[in-house]
Symmetry: C2
Subunit: 188 residues, 2 copies
DNA sequence: ACGTTTAACTAACAATCGTTAGTTTTGCAC
DNA sequence: GTGCAAAACTAACGATTGTTAGTTAAACGT
């Protein structure tokens, strides 16, 4: 059974996603958990800690994913496929928390915000590197690597919203489709 | 010279984007405009009206774009190209307001929220229709139209954030690259 | 120059928020 | 059953918020 702290974090993720961090108050969060507001503070130290942990938990997941891929001996395209597959899986498994990555980090205090953005930048750099290796194989269209990176990450970052309306889809099928979409593109 | 009301809306867009709607207070907005908070109410009726108008102004732009494309006699691929070109142009011309489309609409009251989402759904439906026509020409990979739609719109919706870090790029060049990226995809 | 409208200001309100203090209840070790 | 720690509760605080009332200054047509 999940710890009370984790239950609070789960409900927080759902509410932060639905109404935004700033518009979510501790009394509503408490009600969702089934408790009075003051009782939350037996398990957490403050509101921002919740956002901080939710974001950092996810950021660490992506950092791990990147480290594993980079340490592997796969070819560049297989590496790209692995990154995409991880992203899709994280999205399916942590839809609410993942959704916070897009916009809610602006509400972090300066220090944790920089920490978060730093991890995010590292991930992007790793992604760019691998994408660059892919383009260099000659099996891809000549396209600006920054544009390709941005477009790919955009699709992945929005996936949570699409997935929320298509929960019935199979994880593997989703991975396949997204990979095909991103790597093969539209035109024959 | 811009009306005071428009100046307020411009500053609101910038602040709403930077800190989020809920985290932006009327005193800070007033200071940005160069006025005391109470003075804002000589030009606007309340805070939410600002968000509402900013979002609706953009939504109307997209509705127009779609109507024009649909009324044209272009082929499906040209229609798609036109939609993409419009989106890119709007992003460059109204970067701050466009950025609000992604997440800040959740803070609208129920009625304007439904109105906004309705326009958004109509746009998506129009886009899906045209994308479907494209796929039917046989010059594209066989791919789920919902996935293709989602991926395409994701890229366009995130464009503002990429553009903000690459302001030096030429509008036409950006249009070309994005179109190429989205329509040709990565692989030869 | 004068009167009127427009828009600025000061001050303060009512509501809401995150959080703390102090107290009571719960649940488990023995 | 008793004692103790964990976690719930009530009540209230100080700060911040959007907004209004009432007043003064600026701008403009005549």
């Amino acid at each position: 059974m999940k710890s009370k702290r984790q239950q609070i974090k789960d409900h927080a993720a759902r509410l932060f996603r639905k109404r935004g961090y700033k518009a979510t108050n501790m009394r509503d969060l408490a009600e969702a958990v089934g408790v009075k507001a003051a009782s939350l503070y037996n398990h957490i130290s403050n509101k921002e800690e919740l956002l901080q942990e939710l974001l950092m938990d996810m950021a660490r997941l992506f950092t791990e994913s990147m480290a594993n891929v980079q340490a592997s001996s796969l070819g560049p395209v297989e590496k790209l496929e692995r990154l995409i597959a991880d992203y899709v899986r994280y999205t399916v498994e942590h839809t609410d928390a993942i959704s916070l990555l897009t916009g809610e980090w602006v509400h972090l205090d300066e220090k944790p915000k920089q920490e978060f953005l730093s991890l995010r930048d590292n991930y992007e750099d790793g992604f760019r590197q691998i994408l660059n290796d892919c383009l260099a194989t000659g099996h891809f269209n000549k396209i600006d690597v920054d544009i390709a990176l941005f477009s790919t990450l955009s699709t992945l970052r929005w996936l949570y919203s699409w997935y929320s309306k298509h929960r019935e889809i199979n994880l593997l099928e989703l991975e396949t489709q997204i990979t095909k979409m991103l790597i093969d593109g539209l035109r024959k």
